[in-house]
């Protein structure tokens, strides 16, 4: 387990986090701008120095102020992707990619670079200059450049923030491929709920320099007491497409706890997909729904009734098998239907977004 503990006094608020990071997958640092996400990343990289810190990644201690250890950035086995392009303008793409490769002198660096070039689809760009690349291409090259040093940790600071929506959509699948195919753990900073629900395995919610919540994305997003989610509370459901209905253009996604119909986006059966079910699109009924226009019903058990941002509303967490869904209902309904933990209910899902 990687460990990051940082303390840094700052003008607005003090940064104070203690994180255990999994050894692979994407951990998203999520929070509003100014919540300290980027500072955490910069401190982990050693670009900024935390006053008191302990950073241990992949068995190596990068910073331990109790033991007087502080490695400069260039001695840390990390990759860093900046928000805006950080490619060296005076070098072509190939020499940008080889810059870190030559210096890291790690075994298998060349193979790692080849793999990254393949994974990110940039082989055709090698002879170009950074000025001749689009924003999305630049970021893909920057990611590949970072991976060529075979880092123990890949840090990504809002890598999509400087891109417009089509470019973001273009680069997101590449990031998913990295997550699914590489063993390197990633720390990914974003304030976009889209990127969070699409990419995160784990999430750390930051607010004013502190971690409000941390854990698997499915659990944190239905936690219910995180104002930073701003009404975007949602369940993230991972499942497999088991059936496609050509007549109605629907696909059935099976997950541990039932199945949901989604719009058929052309993905083959057997594909793993990630769904986002917003709390506001989920309603609850006590009896099995009949003759409803809503296609998706799942039986479940109420797990908890949580306070919502407005006193008229409540967030109800419902367990459907291993999956937890969350529903935004009025307080009045909670009272009239007698919704309480352990009550069996039917969940009606009005709309499901396939995020990946």
């Amino acid at each position: 387990m990687n460990r990051v503990r940082l303390g840094l006094p700052r003008a607005e608020y003090d940064l104070d986090v203690d994180l255990a990071l999994p050894a692979r997958g994407i951990t998203v640092l999520f929070g509003a701008s100014g919540s300290g996400k980027t500072s955490v990343l910069r401190c982990v990289a050693g670009l900024e120095r935390a006053r008191e810190g302990f950073v241990r990644i992949g068995g190596a201690v990068w910073q331990d102020d109790a033991g007087g250890v502080f490695l400069p950035t260039w001695r840390r086995s990390l990759g860093y992707v900046f928000q805006e392009s950080s490619l060296f303008e005076h070098l072509d793409v190939r020499r940008n990619l080889e810059y870190g490769l030559r210096r890291a002198k790690v075994e298998g660096g060349r193979a790692a670079l080849d793999e990254a070039i393949e994974l990110l689809g940039i082989r055709a760009l090698l002879a170009r200059r950074p000025a001749q690349l689009s924003g999305g291409e630049r970021q893909r090259v920057a990611i590949a450049r970072a991976l060529a040093t075979r880092p123990q940790l890949l840090l990504l600071d809002e890598p999509l923030a400087s891109l417009d929506l089509p470019r973001r959509r273009e680069i997101m699948p590449w990031l998913e491929r990295l997550r699914d195919q590489l063993a390197v753990p990633m720390l990914y900073v974003t304030h976009s709920i889209d990127e969070l629900s699409r990419l995160a395995d784990e999430v750390v919610v930051l607010d004013k320099g502190r971690a409000l919540a941390a854990g698997p994305v499915g659990a944190v997003l239905v936690q219910g007491d995180l104002p930073v989610l701003a009404g975007e509370e949602a369940a993230v459901v991972e499942g497999v497409i088991v059936e496609r209905d050509a007549r109605w253009h629907l696909a059935s996604v099976r997950f541990d706890g039932g199945s949901l119909f989604v719009r058929d986006g052309g993905l083959e059966t057997g594909c793993r997909v990630r769904l986002r079910v917003l709390a506001q699109d989920v309603s609850l009924v006590l009896d099995a729904p009949q003759r409803s226009s809503i296609q998706n019903h799942l039986p479940g058990i109420v797990d908890a009734v949580l306070a919502d941002s407005h006193p008229s509303q409540a967030l109800v967490r419902v367990r459907c098998g291993a999956q937890v869904l969350v529903s935004r209902v009025t307080r009045k309904s909670v009272d009239e239907l007698g919704i309480r933990p352990a009550l069996p209910v039917w969940v009606q899902v009005k709309s499901v977004a396939v995020v990946a």
Partner: protein, 228 residues
């Protein structure tokens, strides 16, 4: 009669030699100085920066006067060179070289400093995350990215040295083959009422200066881009 006599050619070669040496030495001195000024947060930054800029505003005679005193037999530099058995530097080519370096220092430091500042911290941070030590990053990232600034500094230093007069006269005097450069040669011709000779040299200086400024503006236009 030849258009330019031997004395004129001697002065021209001496001028080019002085300007070339000054430029090379200035680049070596000004680059680390400009780097320090662009990176440091020290409280010495402002006073050092002002000191470096001083030759820009001081009359060359003032600068020349102090250099003369410094290099003279009573000055600290003069005493040092005397102790080393080199004699005094005033009225020698070496003395002129030192004077030119001081005189043109701001013309070399400022373009380079601005170029370093324009790079910003990002490329250097990126280099550090790619395992480049600070020295490595300086040579492989900062210097190449500052190339337009270095080129501007070189051209300005060269041109400014060719055009100097006051400092030369103060510390170099007007010794043919030693310290007589084009500007003092012109002065000599005018004193001697040799207007035809003065014309040729003065006209040459005008043409030279024009070409330099033209080069600079062309350089500025294409300097920011690395696309070929």
């Amino acid at each position: 009669m030849a258009v330019l006599d031997d004395g004129a050619w001697q002065a021209i070669w001496l001028t080019l030699e002085l300007a070339g040496l000054t430029t090379v030495l200035l680049l070596v001195i000004a680059t680390p100085l400009a780097w320090w000024l662009s990176q440091t947060r020290s409280r010495w930054r402002a006073p050092i920066g002002a000191l470096v800029t001083l030759p820009l505003v001081l009359p060359p005679t003032v600068l020349g006067f102090y250099l003369l005193v410094l290099m003279g037999p009573q000055g600290p530099l003069g005493q040092l060179t005397l102790a080393l058995g080199w004699g005094t530097l005033s009225f020698t080519f070496t003395g002129l070289l030192i004077g030119s370096i001081v005189f043109s220092l701001p013309f070399a430091v400022q373009p380079i400093q601005h170029a370093f500042e324009a790079i910003g911290p990002r490329p250097l941070e990126a280099a550090a995350t790619l395992r480049a030590s600070p020295l490595d990053a300086f040579f492989t990232v900062a210097l190449p990215l500052a190339r337009p600034g270095l080129l501007t500094a070189a051209i300005l230093s060269f041109a400014h040295t060719v055009g100097e007069f006051g400092v030369v006269l103060m510390i170099g005097g007007n010794i043919p083959g030693q310290t007589r450069v084009v500007s003092t040669q012109i002065y000599g011709h005018v004193e001697a009422m040799e207007y035809a000779q003065a014309h040729w040299l003065a006209g040459g200086m005008v043409a030279f200066s024009f070409v330099i400024l033209l080069c600079l503006s062309l350089l500025k236009r294409g300097g920011g881009s690395f696309v070929r």
